[in-house]
């Protein structure tokens, strides 16, 4: 084999940067089994051997045997030596420092996080270690505070850690309804601007995501809240944005003022009708969502199909308008 399963797309610089990390790590883990070292660097053992073969033909200028890096893995255990000049890992690049520091600063905005202190200490150590290289990281900012109440977030997390069942009063805005349910909490997730509690919902008998800012009350019950074995954490981006099989296909037409809806909702297709008008196809789990959208958009978003949904939008608007006449006459009287 001899390393022939190496990824064909890997560039020389990607490989070099792995080698520059690998040498210090191996120096600190002399005698580590090949497969363990391969796992550490996320490569196959064949690839690791190919990397070691490369290392031992490199070294300081001169090319004499004592110039070259020593690498030995004959008994399945890896030993490396004579690599003093690259015995420390390369400093963090600007992008690497940025990824960690922006991430830490985002965590620092998490409401009710009990580990704020550790986040702050890690950040100041990184700032010190990176110096000027870390400066561009301040130009990228992520706020993960969506106004969710700190107490709700910290109690939900606590319940995840302690495996306690929760009782929620939860507002379902598309149905404008407050529901009561027992939930075995699995994790607390932030995605696309909102915090969610993921858990096994005993009412739905399925895994559900609950937006924290819609939880009206959260009580920790004195009951074990270990989710049942069939409760698997879902791919959150999928769970939020992939329409279910049973979802209703809705077609709407928008003008320029309604065009923003394609930024907000996961849409299946958009057809340009000219003059700023578009026909948008989307799937929704609850037609009430579309009805609300059409009412609030005052004609900038019109339901084309299903026809009965379009009819209920129109009759609802008529009914609402008649209420205005009623209120007005009440005021006048």
């Amino acid at each position: 084999m001899n390393g022939s399963r190496r990824s064909p797309s890997e560039s020389a610089t990607t490989r070099l940067s792995r080698l520059l990390d690998m040498v210090p790590w191996l120096l600190a883990h002399q005698g580590v089994p090949l497969d363990e070292a391969a796992a550490e660097f996320g490569v196959t053992t064949d690839q690791l051997v190919a990397d070691l073969e490369l290392l031992f033909v490199c070294g300081t200028p001169g090319g004499m045997p004592d110039d070259l890096i020593e690498a030995d893995w004959e008994d399945g255990k890896v030993y490396v030596g004579n690599a003093d000049y690259i015995a420390r890992p390369l400093r963090l690049s600007v992008d690497e420092a940025l990824a960690l520091m922006v991430g830490l600063r985002a965590l620092a905005t998490t409401p009710g996080l009990v580990e704020h202190d550790a986040v702050g200490r890690a950040l100041s150590k990184l700032e010190e270690a990176t110096g000027a290289l870390g400066a561009p990281s301040s130009r990228v900012q992520v706020s993960i505070d969506d106004g969710a109440r700190a107490s709700v977030l910290s109690r939900a997390r606590r319940a995840v850690a302690d495996h306690r069942r929760l009782h929620l009063a939860y507002l379902v805005p598309t149905r404008d309804e407050v529901t009561e349910r027992d939930v075995d909490p699995m994790r607390v997730v932030f995605l696309d601007g909102h915090w969610y509690l993921e858990g096994w919902c005993h009412r739905a008998e399925d895994v559900r995501l609950f937006r924290l800012d819609r939880i009206q009350s959260l009580d920790v019950l004195d009951l074990d809240g270990t989710p049942p074995p069939q409760a698997q954490p879902r791919d959150v981006t999928e769970a939020l944005f992939t329409p279910g099989e049973e979802d209703l296909e809705v077609v709407v037409e928008t003008d320029r003022a309604g065009a923003w809806i394609v930024d907000y909702y996961p849409v299946d297709r958009v057809d340009d009708l000219g003059e700023g008008r578009r026909r948008v196809t989307l799937h929704v789990s609850d037609p009430a969502l579309v009805r609300r959208l059409a009412w609030r958009m005052g004609g900038h978003v019109r339901v084309v199909s299903p026809v009965d949904l379009a009819a209920s939008v129109a009759s609802g608007a008529q009914e609402a308008l008649s209420a205005y006449t009623a209120v007005r006459s009440g005021v006048d009287a």
């Binding site: 690998m22 965590l107 990184l126 990228v140 995605l191």
Partner: protein
């Protein structure tokens, strides 16, 4: 980067060449001339001509710098001549000694995981790899039960991030929801995610003023104009503040009176000024009166209209008119509602 096909053998030889070059430049106290470098790195021996070597060396230098390797160019011996040489300062090269407590490691690990679904996933992973190589112990420790996910699905994000990092002017097409796409030239200052959306702040060269853009509304490729480091970012630039100010209210709130059908308008009730209203007390004939604070009459009108027949705006009169205008717009008669703005 070279544009050449990376076959197995060329990647192998090139990696050896770059590694030998790094070691040669780290192991010298004096800057090495190009001639010395060509002699010191065996993989340069086969180059056909001086020009071929020069081209290869220039490219190698750029790629090492791209990796963050601090390769410096300086005069070899100022007393005798001005020939340039190259070296890598060992102290500059190496990650400084750094130690983290277990709870700090957990925070770092979660910070890196935040980017799992974003364009910074690669740098986040290699950053942790370097820390482990430096002796930081990382088992699977992370903060328990919590998982922030930051996404960068917009195609414009990466080119903009590089431009922000390098302080490089860019041009792109920008589509406001109610208008055609226009071409913008911008000195980017910052990228900010706010309420789940990415915003770009910077100095708009054509308008001669600071501006905020929604990254998702950029509808062409982002093209750099001119060199890196071309401008300074104002020291007092506050990207979050700028994004906020495009949406935040500046005047004190007004009070709206609404009639809300029983068991409806729950999101409105939660904002009611009186707890009794929030609890739905005092309802007559299945309707109750709720007072809420508001800043933007159009935004509240959107919300009230969205409840259709379940919520009625009583006061103030401009709110009533705005709601009625929307409902008439739905029924197809009369003029549509005012247009949405960023």
């Amino acid at each position: 980067m070279s544009g050449q096909p990376s076959t197995h053998a060329t990647v192998q030889v090139k990696t050896e060449r770059l590694l030998n070059l790094v070691i040669a430049l780290l192991s010298t106290r004096m800057p090495l001339s190009k001639a010395r470098i060509r002699a010191a790195v065996p993989q340069y021996h086969g180059t056909a001509s001086d020009e071929a070597f020069d081209r290869m060396f220039e490219r190698d230098k750029d790629e090492l710098r791209e990796l963050g390797i601090p390769l410096v160019t300086s005069v070899i011996d100022p007393v005798f001549d001005d020939e340039l040489g190259y070296r890598i300062d060992k102290r500059e090269y190496a990650l400084p000694e750094i130690a983290f407590e277990p709870d700090e490691v957990a925070a770092l690990s979660l910070a890196a995981r935040t980017w799992t679904r974003a364009s910074l996933a690669g740098p986040a992973a290699t950053a942790l790899r370097k820390l482990r190589a430096a002796g930081v112990t990382m088992d699977d420790a992370s903060l328990v039960g919590i998982e922030p996910v930051v996404r960068t699905t917009e195609e414009a994000f990466e080119p903009l991030r590089r431009a922000v990092r390098d302080r490089r002017t860019v041009t792109f097409g920008y589509r406001k929801p109610d208008a055609e796409s226009t071409t913008r030239r911008l000195q980017p200052w910052g990228l900010t995610q706010w309420h789940g959306r990415w915003y770009l702040t910077g100095f708009d060269l054509d308008r001669g003023a600071a501006r905020v853009f929604r990254v998702g509304r950029i509808d062409t490729a982002v093209t750099p104009l001119g060199p890196a480091g071309a401008y300074d970012i104002p020291a007092d630039h506050d990207p979050r503040g700028m994004v906020d100010s495009t949406q935040a209210p500046t005047s004190p709130p007004r009070v709206a009176t609404l009639r809300v059908r029983q068991d409806s308008g729950n999101a409105l009730r939660r904002r009611a000024r009186l707890q009794a209203e929030a609890d739905g007390l005092g309802s007559i004939d299945g309707w109750s009166t709720v007072e809420v604070d508001f800043h933007d009459v159009d935004r509240l009108a959107d919300e009230v209209a969205g409840y259709g027949p379940d919520v009625v705006a009583v006061e103030p009169i401009d709110l009533r008119k705005a709601v009625v205008r929307r409902l008439i717009g739905v029924t197809g008669a009369g003029e549509p509602a005012p247009e949405e703005e960023l």
